[in-house]
């Protein structure tokens, strides 16, 4: 890492810290002005205590691992078939014209609404959370992959024809790499929405995980636990987003796409 990049990183961390400080300040001010009791709006100090406690006694680590595991499972299970299916459907406009409305009708339905059926088919424990994350991640990746495949530069296809490529070669050497930037932006989008639905996923019959932590804290009227959970979800979501942004930027620079 060069000196410039190091300075850049330093500046980002500073900005982040200032942002978080402002957030804390606003929170404390609301608390003071609204004069809310602890049971309704815990103070930053109390939430900090809760967080430290959770870190020290290890509960946090356990739930974190569980959540990340489920998230990884649901996300990976979603994106692999979504990309493959998207590549195929993107090349089959006739079929896509029929599949598209099906997806467009299913997509606006919140994964939460499906929960009775998810429990019916997938039971309780890890699976419902994984399924909900799957649903949340699958559609964005599928749609962006199809869109990406459709807008592959016609010239690339002509080059492939000129080289007398067969279908598999066409997919592997042309379609996939050409659609790759679109696919990655779909992965980014999907990561965000899947993470948002982690809480919803872990509400359905899960006994662990960050989402459960929030739900359980809420059930036991422990609002400082709810806020601690929110903070973890927010920070982790932020970190995941930055990681995939880095990947996206790398792809962009590699493909010669200026951001």
């Amino acid at each position: 890492m060069g000196r410039r990049e190091l300075m850049n990183l330093g500046k980002k961390i500073l900005n982040f810290s200032i942002g978080m400080l402002i957030l804390l300040l606003v929170w404390q001010i609301i608390k003071i002005i609204g004069d809310y009791p602890e049971a309704l709006l815990p103070s930053p100090v109390n939430v900090a205590h809760t967080i430290i406690e959770m870190i020290v006694d290890g509960t946090l680590l356990v739930h974190l691992q569980v959540s990340l595991g489920r998230f990884a499972a649901g996300y990976l299970l979603a994106i692999i078939p979504a990309v493959i299916l998207g590549m195929l459907l993107g090349r089959m406009p006739r079929i896509w014209q029929i599949v598209d409305p099906i997806i467009q009708v299913l997509r606006p339905v919140s994964p939460i609404a499906w929960s009775p059926f998810i429990v019916l088919w997938f039971g309780i424990g890890n699976m419902p959370a994984i399924v909900i994350i799957f649903i949340a991640a699958f559609f964005p990746v599928l749609l962006t992959t199809v869109a990406g495949v459709k807008k592959v530069d016609k010239n690339y296809l002509k080059i492939a024809e000129n080289m007398e490529m067969n279908r598999l070669e066409l997919m592997v050497k042309i379609i996939f790499p050409a659609a790759f930037p679109s696919i990655v932006s779909g992965l980014h989008l999907a990561l965000g929405s899947a993470w948002i639905f982690l809480v919803a996923g872990e509400m359905v019959g899960a006994q662990s995980g960050l989402g459960f932590l929030i739900v359980d804290a809420r059930n036991t009227l422990n609002l400082s636990g709810v806020l601690a959970g929110i903070i973890f979800i927010g920070l982790l979501g932020f970190i995941l987003d930055r990681l995939i942004s880095l990947f996206e930027r790398w792809v962009g620079s590699h493909w010669g796409i200026s951001s």
């Binding site: 049971a39 309704l40 429990v119 019916l120 039971g123 019959g205």
Partner: protein, 296 residues
């Protein structure tokens, strides 16, 4: 309706509830009087889950609720000023198990569902296990939305569940499960849901609260007769077959709604024993029997 106009300026009591048989007298009152009473009105506010109801209750968005006693006690412990004016009902809970569970010992290492940690259902489960020489850790207890329990049972995701009615009766009616135990076999006269009101509200509306409790007690007595009008009322609030409701109604009673100190302390002790409360409110601080005593 003509009565509505005259009652425009009457105070309104907002009562939160969940669509379960435990709030039966409220449903009957709504059915018979459409929420209009002499000098006050009752507005029933439906919630989808206990936490939703508690959020509204704690923040003062509703004046009172028919709510799990343990949850209300926990809220009080956390500084939310609530007072119990009556029991919502007595008994009325069954422990359901799948058809292949014969004895309680069969439940070992199986998954068993409860609606909420702060519930009498949780206590009932614990007591049942204790009575059979098992401990709470011998089963895998999960919290679940009541509506999902019958489905989970029928798909063998859980070995059984204990929850408010009519969700128990549904599994029995579907023949997906059976009654494993009645609450009165485990904990006679068990308390479950209670009627709580904000202390401020009680202080400022003493007469209204008195009439409300009077009415609730009367409705409870009527509901306990389990006549046709009760089923008509219930079917407005719970969309289940009459057969299921009839089954549920065999297990519940709505008379004798006074909170008894001895029973209350028993409940309180259970909570401490199970570790779901460190410092539950005392009977004196949490229960206000002046209204129910004035009603009889």
């Amino acid at each position: 309706s003509p009565s509505k106009q005259s009652s425009e300026d009457n105070p309104t009591i907002k009562i939160g509830y969940l669509p379960i048989t435990h709030a039966g007298p409220l449903f009957l009152g709504d059915h018979l009087h459409n929420g209009q009473y002499d000098g006050y009105q009752v507005e029933l506010v439906k919630f989808g889950s206990w936490p939703d109801l508690m959020d509204a209750l704690n923040t003062g968005r509703i004046d009172g609720a028919s709510v799990l006693a343990e949850l209300a006690m926990k809220a009080n412990e956390l500084g939310i000023d609530l007072q119990t004016v009556a029991l919502a009902h007595k008994d009325g809970n069954v422990l359901i198990s799948s058809n292949d569970i014969q004895t309680t010992a069969d439940l070992k290492d199986k998954t068993y569902a409860i609606p909420h940690k702060f519930s009498s259902h949780n206590i009932l489960l614990n007591e049942m296990l204790k009575k059979n020489g098992m401990s709470y850790d011998d089963v895998n207890v999960v919290e679940m939305t009541p509506a999902e329990m019958p489905a989970a049972l029928s798909e063998n995701r859980i070995a059984g569940y204990v929850v408010a009615e009519p969700f128990g009766a549904i599994a029995v009616a579907m023949e997906k499960g059976k009654v494993h135990a009645h609450s009165d076999e485990i904990w006679p006269n068990s308390y479950c849901c209670i009627i709580v009101l904000h202390t401020d509200f009680i202080r400022n509306n003493k007469e209204v609260v008195q009439s409300f409790v009077n009415e609730y007690v009367a409705l409870g007595k009527q509901a306990d007769l389990k006549g046709d009008e009760v089923y008509d009322a219930f079917s407005k609030f719970m969309k289940v077959d009459r057969a299921v409701l009839e089954l549920s109604m065999q297990w519940i009673s709505y008379d004798e709604l006074r909170v008894d100190e001895e029973e209350y302390n028993k409940l309180s002790d259970f909570m401490v024993e199970m570790g779901i409360s460190d410092n539950p409110p005392t009977y004196k601080n949490f229960v206000d029997n002046t209204f129910i005593d004035g009603a009889s």
